[in-house]
Amino acid sequence: MTTESATTQGQSDAKTGETLLSVKGMKMYFPVTSGLFVQRKVADVRAVDGISFDVKKGETLGLVGESGCGKSTTGRAILQLHRPTEGSVNFDGTELTELKGAGLRRFRRRMQMIFQDPFSSLNPRMSVAQIISEPLAIHGLYKGAERRDRLDYILNAVGLNPTYARRYPHEFSGGQRQRIGIGRALAVEPDFIVCDEPVSALDVSIQAQVVNLLEDLQTQFDLTYLFIAHDLSVVKHISDRIAVMYLGHIVELAESEELYLNPVHAYTRALLSAIPIPDPIVERDRERIILEGDVPSPLNPPKGCVFRTRCTKKDQCKCSDTVPVLEEVEPGHWVANCSCCMTK
């Protein structure tokens, strides 16, 4: 089975597949305290402000948005690295927000994370063998000689020579360190991996190697991905469906090709037009939508439709009180229903 047909197979499975992860109404607020002797809460950073989405088994759901939109926080809150302030995270039938201690730790085997920075996400005092074996030890998997075999298997799977197992992270390049991080996530045979900006810190030609690796591993090990990144070109390449986030909210959710061909929300359209395409002839004819101003602070987001302050139709906007909700405009294509953001 060639990789090409395997990927297409994966995409059609995703369309009909069962739901592995279901997030409903999730909020993640971080309190800001102030005071000299007595710390008092003065405000909340509303990093994630009520989002809902599903991830189907075997699919890659892309989560895209700019700094401060809440995408990384979403990934961590799903894995219970931050405990959500509100909302439900249902993983394969189990409500994760109600688990703690040993119960939660058992679930962590099934959901893993790959981090952005290949330099700070590996313990510099642990060898590669120790880094990849640690999760096996924590979950009591592959004892004795089997653990060594498992280590070799994982290193080969991520394209690293098993003889490097005794080396330390500083002896590897950025791309190789990212492979080590992927190997660490794979070691415990997870079902679901949150990839938090896994290629942003890498050079262009190394990015391609790691993206291909992630796709191959998905097919080989039947993985489900939540792929978080700000580079929509990479996200569109690897994802079946994409959710666009802005200031703690999801503004649009659709299949990748549909999102590119028929973006509805004003923010999605601006985001797409801002991404330059490496082709001067195509670029010459593209529409450029330039947004005014900066992203508001999540300490004090605009009331109602959060995109209101940058929308070109802000004078006509009536959405200053009600928070828009996701509405299905076409089958499988959801948009936050602020009427001015939805009209061209």
């Binding site: 090409e4 262009v204 391609a208 037009s273 001067p280």
Partner: protein
């Protein structure tokens, strides 16, 4: 007509304990008045060091320009005095850096920093300089400019700080603007704002722009011509249209094929360039791309330094390093 900036066989080396790093190793290129030239390549290819060499900002030790010449508007930049060079920096050649927060002085107001350039180079008094600073902030689209010139850098967002950098750079109406990864640290929608401002202003003022970037999309949108760098040398050079439509060198082709495009309709596996760029402490003889070229076994490139590939013109205005295996298409 002579070009605005002409770089001939530039060599900038860094002398370190681990060996001599040949960061820029024999690079020749030029830029005309008013045009936008992109210098493209990945980390360590020598593009930033080239820019710093033009402005003689290479830290010494450990770095030194060991060979070649840089001619700007008829002046030999490598032989002018330090005082003459200072009169050129910020005035006739200006630079914008990648990290706006670390490039601005955190203890001076924005107004003080903008005024510094115009007072030093154009001899304005305090009132004139203030007026100019306000005009510049308005030009780059910062609202409430009269109040904002009294603010400090930390009171501005990343995108606003980069606009301030652009304002400072253009304050003395330079003939050449060097932008070193000006938007890499910024969000995509802010990147679009900043690049539009730079493009519009440079076109209005007739400023030539040297954009240093690894982002091929930015190059396609804004550059007239492109130089592709690898391991301290230029491997391909031409108009943006030619380079993208008809890339000749294996590295250029590899780079283009490895970047996912937003308008790809079919999911095709990304082509990769196997391996890593070479360590520049080792002297590279012959074609520097050879270890990663898919034609390595068939490569006849001699391994002596005298036979390093040289740029040859393959079509009008389109130059490629003449390693025959790198130039053959697959």
């Amino acid at each position: 007509m002579a070009r605005l900036l002409e770089v001939e066989d530039l060599q900038t080396y860094f002398f370190t304990d681990e060996g001599t790093v040949r960061a820029v190793d024999g690079v020749s290129w030029g830029i005309d008045e008013g045009e936008t030239l992109a210098l493209v390549g990945e980390s360590g290819c020598g593009k930033s060091v080239t820019a710093m060499s033009i402005l003689r900002l290479i830290p010494n030790p450990p770095g030194r320009i060991v060979g070649g010449s840089i001619t700007f508007d008829g002046l030999d930049l490598l032989s002018v005095s330090d005082a003459e060079m200072r009169a050129i920096r910020g005035n006739r050649i200006a630079m914008i850096f990648q990290e706006p927060m670390t490039s601005l002085n955190p203890v001076l107001t924005i107004g003080q920093q903008i005024r510094e350039a115009v007072q030093l180079h154009l001899g304005m008094n305090d009132d004139e300089a203030n007026q100019k600073a306000v005009e510049l902030l308005q030009m780059v689209g910062i609202p409430e400019a009269e109040q904002r010139i009294q603010d400090y850098p930390h009171q501005f967002s990343g995108g606003m700080r980069q606009r301030v950098m652009i304002a400072m750079a253009l304050s003395c109406d330079p003939k050449l603007l060097i932008a070193d990864e000006p938007t890499t640290a910024l969000d995509v929608t802010i990147q679009a704002q900043i690049l539009e401002i730079m493009a519009n202003l440079s076109s209005e003022l007739g400023t030539a722009v040297l954009v240093i970037t690894h982002n091929l999309g930015v190059v396609a949108r804004y550059a007239d011509r492109v130089n592709v760098m690898y391991a301290g040398q230029i491997v391909e050079s031409g108009s943006a249209v030619d380079i993208f439509k008809n890339p000749q060198h294996a590295y250029t082709r590899g780079l283009m094929a490895s970047v996912p495009r937003l308008d790809d309709t079919e999911h095709t596996r990304l082509a990769t360039i196997e391996g890593q760029p070479p360590l520049l402490v080792q002297e590279i003889n012959g074609c520097s791309f050879r270890p990663r070229c898919t034609r390595e076994s068939g490569c006849n490139c001699s391994t002596t330094k005298e036979n390093n590939p040289k740029l040859v013109e393959v079509e009008a205005g389109h130059w490629v390093a003449d390693c025959p295996c790198c130039m053959t298409s697959d």
